[in-house]
Every structure is written in C-alpha cells, then in structure tokens.
C-alpha cells in the first residue's frame, strides 16, 4: 500500500497534474456557482478537454472539477440562497442567514474549513477502504457484478425520496433502454438504429450527459426566468465581511465535523445515496444532538448547522469513489459521468484497476486530497473575486455554455448528426425536467446498461444457459436479497403511511 501511495504522490505532484487540479477546482467552482448548473454539467463540459491528457491527468482534472463544483454550490447557497447543486441545499439553511447577518465571509470560511476537514478524514478512509474492498471484489464473478449493478440501480431509486421511487425507476429504465441502441457487441445485431449509420455505434455517453445536463440545465434557467440575479448583484457588490474564524468557533464545530465526516463517507459509499442525502442526514443529526439555545439557532445562522452538511457532502464525494474505483459501479450521477470518461480512455474501473493501473487508482485518491488543499489555500482567498462572477450577465453566459456543450461533442465525432441528436435529447430532457423526473438515474442506467447485459450474458454462458446462479451462488444471492429489501423499503413505508392515514380518519 505504501508503494501505491508513493506512486500516487509522484503522479499527483507532477507540475502538470498540480496545474490541472487547480484549473479543475477553479473551473468547477465557477460552474458550480452558477445557479442551475451542477457538478454533472461541470464534469461533462470538462471531458472533451481531458481527452488530450493521459487517464491519470484526466481523472485528476475531473476530481478537481467535482470538488470545485460542490464548493461553488456552497458559495451560491450561502451568498444568494440559490444552491447550484442539490448537495448544498442543506448548506443554505444556516449559511444564508449568516450571510444576511453580514457574516458572509465567516460563513464561506467555515464552509471551506468544514469541507476541507470532511475531505481529509474521508480521504484517509478511502485510502484504507478502497484497496481492502478491491481485494475482496477480485473474487467477484459476472453474476455477482450483474447483481451488484441491479442493486446499484434500484438503490438510486430507493433513495430518491418520498414519492420518487417510481419516477426514478422509470428514468433508470429509460437510461437502460437508450443503452441498447446501436450494435450488440456479442452478435453484431443492430438494435433500434432505424437503418441509420450514425446510430450504429450507439449514443455516446458524452452526448447524453451533455444533452441531459449541460444543455438542458442551461436552457431550464432561461425557461424559468432568472429570479436570483438581483440578489447576485447585491452579493457581488456588497462586502463579504471578515473571513476569520475564532478559536471558540473552531472548538464548537470540531465534534460536528468529526461526526459528519464519518456519516458522510459511509453514506457516500452506499450506492445511490451520495452528497445530497449525506448533507441532509448530517444536518438532521446535528440538530437532534444539540440542546437548548444551540438547537434554537438552527436555521437562523448556526455555525454547526453550516458545518455539518458541508463536511458531510464533501466526505460523501470521497466515499462515492469507493464503489467506482473498486467495483467499477458508480453510485451517483457524477461518478457515472466519470466512469463514462474512464471507459472512453479504455480503462475499466474495478478490482483489476487496482492491479493493472495502480497509478490511475492511487493518483485519483491522492489528487482528491490535493484538490481539497487547493480549494482551501487558493479558492478561499479568491472567493471575493469569484463572487463577482455571479453577476456575469446570463445573456452572455448561456450561449457560451450551449456552444461549449455542442462543440465538445462535435469535436469528438465531427458528425453534425450528433449536434441534432443532442438538441433532440435536450428537448426530451427539458420536458422531463418540467414534469419533475430526475435525470441522474437515467445517466446511471445508461452507463450500466451495456455492462449489465454483458455480465448477465457471460454469467449465463458460464452456467450453461441456466439462471440458477441467481440463487445458487451465495454472493449473488446475498446481493439480490439486499436489492429486494431496498425495493421493499419504499413499499413498506407507503403501506405504513396508508395505515396511519386510515387511523387518523377512522
């Protein structure tokens, strides 16, 4: 392991890679700060640039963008109460009241310190957990992978929240269906191509990610008309106040940070949970743990209420890399985009990555930590200036985002059909967004679709065409039972709610 850490350190500290982390953090902060644009869009917009680098550098850039986008999201949550990212919604509960009390600088600094601490603690967990899990998962076979993917996809739906289970399942299925477009690798049969040459290779994941996130998020902002621009102007012109945090405050939030990091990391590891759920859970946990006066301050600018979600969402980001790096199964939309990028480099994450491409494995882990340090020492002092970017006029920014999304996809294929297909998909995504259907499960389904089919086919081949492995292989069976329980959880809570409603009316 020490050797691995050393490899990672030497790769991550190459001047080019350090520069990339910095650029990534900065670009991520900027994009994440724009209300409406989240980390998935930020990463998707960066992918065409990463094609010019080797896989390690590309992943390092994307990890930087990921952290930057989360931090940028916190900034807009605190300053203008408009979270750019779902993972930072909880940050605005106490961050925005603090900013209104004239302590915006302090709130931003607290957010940065908590993010940093959460990232640090989680990075240590990741260092230990990832190789351990990778060595366990080396014994996994195709059938286990198939079961794991089913678990991953159902978990995304199960964590979708009240009333969201079916919607998320539908979107996952939609993604899986889109993944079947193109030539079936094993038989050479064309599926759903309508005889079009342009569809023979299927739809590229970059195209889908750009269309359903970058393009449709940018258009959605226009569609809903901007209501936050006035607040943004005030925030950019106003004084942020001091960035200093006193010793007492540090002492006050230290236990919060400790608890929230552990919680955040483990929630992040769970497939489908991720930063959003981690931040809400941590916020709820802190509020329940605090007593008396401190409890009353929650929602009115409590430092603990700010530190908890900020720590947890960063820790969860690190946690979500565990299933990606060790099993090759992304647990969130963001890591799904990263998986797509890795696959296009010809790298297949999973336990073999740890053995075959240790420099990628370790440098990603190390550079995530470097990204955290960068955010703290470079982004924090720059915040007053970055905040000014919030007022960059929408009418200039949106066409530029649209242009970068279109050209990013076009420059890979040089096929204008791709541009038209992107617009078509973006329109579908817009309608689905208006109808409140989530996009991330679709992306996850799309990325996992082909792998799922491949693994199921292989498992059947190994097992002479019989499906008995589903209940005969203990690992597969265990995973499938967990899957079933995950599916049943929303059903049980639905029935429970029904019963209590009946009791009330009776």
């Amino acid at each position: 392991m020490l050797e691995g850490i050393y490899t990672g350190l030497t790769t991550a500290f190459l001047p080019l890679n350090l520069l990339l982390v910095f650029v990534g953090c900065f670009a991520g902060t900027f994009i994440g700060m724009l209300p409406g644009l989240g980390p998935i869009s930020a990463i998707a917009l960066m992918i065409p640039i990463t094609y010019g680098f080797n896989p390690s550098s590309g992943m390092i850039l994307m990890a930087g963008v990921y952290y930057g986008a989360i931090f940028g999201g916190s900034t807009s949550s605190i300053l203008i109460n408009a979270p750019g990212v779902a993972g930072t919604v909880a940050t605005s509960f106490d961050g925005y009241p603090m900013a209104q009390q004239g302590k915006a600088g302090k709130a931003l600094a607290l957010a940065a310190y908590s993010s940093f601490s959460g990232g640090t603690i989680a990075a240590i967990f990741l260092l230990i957990a990832a190789p351990a899990l990778a060595s366990v998962s080396l014994s996994f076979q195709s059938s286990d992978y198939f079961a794991l993917m089913v678990l991953g996809l159902t978990a995304v739906s199960a964590f979708a929240g009240k009333g969201g289970f079916l919607k998320a399942s539908i979107m996952t299925l939609f993604g899986l269906m889109i993944a079947t477009i193109g030539t079936d690798g094993s038989s050479g049969v064309q599926r759903f191509t309508f005889g079009r040459l342009d569809l023979i290779d299927g739809i590229s994941f970059l195209l889908l990610a750009m269309a359903t996130f970058a393009l449709s998020e940018a258009l959605m902002v226009i569609l809903k008309k901007d209501k936050v621009s006035k607040k943004a102007e005030e925030a950019a012109q106003g004084n942020l106040g001091s960035l200093k945090v006193s010793k007492e405050e540090v002492k006050d939030i230290a236990p919060t940070i400790g608890r929230s990091s552990v919680l955040g990391f483990f929630v992040g590891v769970l497939p489908g949970a991720g930063a959003t759920i981690a931040s809400f859970l941590a916020y709820g946990m802190e509020r329940n743990l605090s007593r008396g006066k401190e409890k009353e301050r929650f929602g009115k600018g409590s430092p603990r209420g700010l530190a908890a979600p900020e720590t947890a969402n960063n820790a969860a980001c690190s946690g979500s890399f565990v299933p990606l790096l060790t099993l090759g199964i992304p647990g969130s939309g963001t890591t799904a985009v990263m998986l797509g990028a890795l696959l296009s480099y010809g790298i297949r994450p999973g336990p073999r990555l740890f053995v075959e491409e240790p420099q990628v494995f370790w440098s990603v882990i190390i550079s995530m930590y470097v990204g955290n340090v960068m955010l703290l020492i470079l982004n924090l002092p720059l915040i007053p200036y970055i905040a000014k970017l919030l007022v960059l006029p929408r009418q200039i920014l949106t066409p530029l985002i649209l242009f970068f999304s279109l050209i990013g996809v076009y420059l890979v294929s040089f096929n204008t059909f791709d541009i038209q297909l992107m617009i078509f998909i973006a329109i579908i995504a817009l309608v689905l967004r208006i109808l409140d259907f989530p996009m991330a499960p679709m992306l996850l389904g799309f990325i996992l679709g082909r792998m799922m089919e491949e693994n199921l086919r292989r498992a059947l081949l190994i097992n002479d065409g019989s499906y008995s492995f589903l209940w005969e292989r203990p690992i597969t069976l265990t995973i499938l039972i967990i899957t079933l329980l995950t599916v049943m959880a929303p059903v049980f809570s639905y029935l429970k709610q029904k019963r209590s409603e009946k009791l009330v009316t009776a």
């Binding site: 009333g163 269906m177 541009i419 199921l456």
Partner: protein, 160 residues
C-alpha cells in the same frame, strides 16, 4: 376527463408507457442471426425484459395514487408561465448551427451562433455582442487547430 387536468407525473408515466410499448414492439422485431435463435440469451432478451419492466413501472405510476395533489402539479400549470419564446429561439439557433458548421465553416457559424444567442437573450449593445463572440471564437480556433493540432473543417465554402 380533460387531459390538461391530470397530474404532471401521471402524464410523464403515460408518455413512458407509450414509449415502452413502442420500444417493446421494435424489440420483438430485432432480427437475430440463425445461430442465435436457440440461445437462452439473445440480443432481444434484454430489450424485451426492459420493455416489460417499463410497462409495469409506468402502469403502477398511473394507477397508484399520487403523493401531492396540489393544483400547481397539474399538467396545464406545469407548462404555464415559462419563457418558451427564448428557449425555442435558442433551440432553433442550435439546429442552425449544426446545419451550417460544415458548410460555412467553424469560425463564421460559431460567431453567428453566439452573436444571435446574445441578441435573443436580450443583449443589445453591439460592442458587447461583437467582443463576446469574435475574439473568443478566433482564440478558441487558434488554440485548437494551431496549438493542440486538432483539425477543424474550414467549411465547404472555402474549398472552391
């Protein structure tokens, strides 16, 4: 029942039901090579399974009661009050961009796209429109084609 009064989620489920059925019909018609027809797992298996699951999920969503029955969740309200004009114009511009990038070349079509995009979203200062598009596109083109060595089609117009 007037369709505009239904809950927007149900409408989404209805759309997906239609899609799943069409997808399933196409899946049944996937042509298989003769050696595959007897296999337990063919190129049709997964699409067929997905179509069935899609129909089940969307039917469940249509039949089960919805959590929130608020007025604003109605289909007719979901699409109301949105800034459709600008979005449709931008979509049109993107289509135009896709059609012209190969004929009039990257530089001219991109400048036109950006300038028109700024205009559509309400920018009326000619100086800002020109400064926001021309230098950026030229620099972008220079970095890509001259520094990074990525070939960009100059456009059919310039061959003749």
């Amino acid at each position: 029942m007037n369709i505009s009064h239904i809950h927007k989620e149900k409408y989404g489920a209805l759309l997906f039901l239609t899609f799943s059925m069409a997808y399933g019909a196409l899946a049944l018609n996937i042509e298989l090579p003769f050696f595959m027809e007897e296999d337990p797992f063919t190129s049709r298996t997964m699409p067929e399974a997905l179509a069935i699951l899609g129909v089940i999920a969307s039917l469940l969503m249509i039949l089960l009661p919805t959590a929130g029955k608020q007025e604003k969740d109605r289909l007719s309200n979901a699409f109301r009050g949105l800034n459709w004009k600008d979005v449709i114009l931008l979509l049109g511009l993107m289509v135009f961009y896709g059609l012209t990038i190969k004929t009039i070349g990257f530089i001219i079509s991109t400048i036109l796209f950006l300038a028109a995009g700024f205009w559509v979203l309400g920018e009326r200062r000619i100086k800002v429109i020109l400064l926001g598009s021309i230098p950026l596109v030229v620099i972008f083109w220079y970095v890509l084609s001259q520094l990074l060595g990525i070939y960009i089609d100059p456009g059919f117009m310039f061959y003749s």
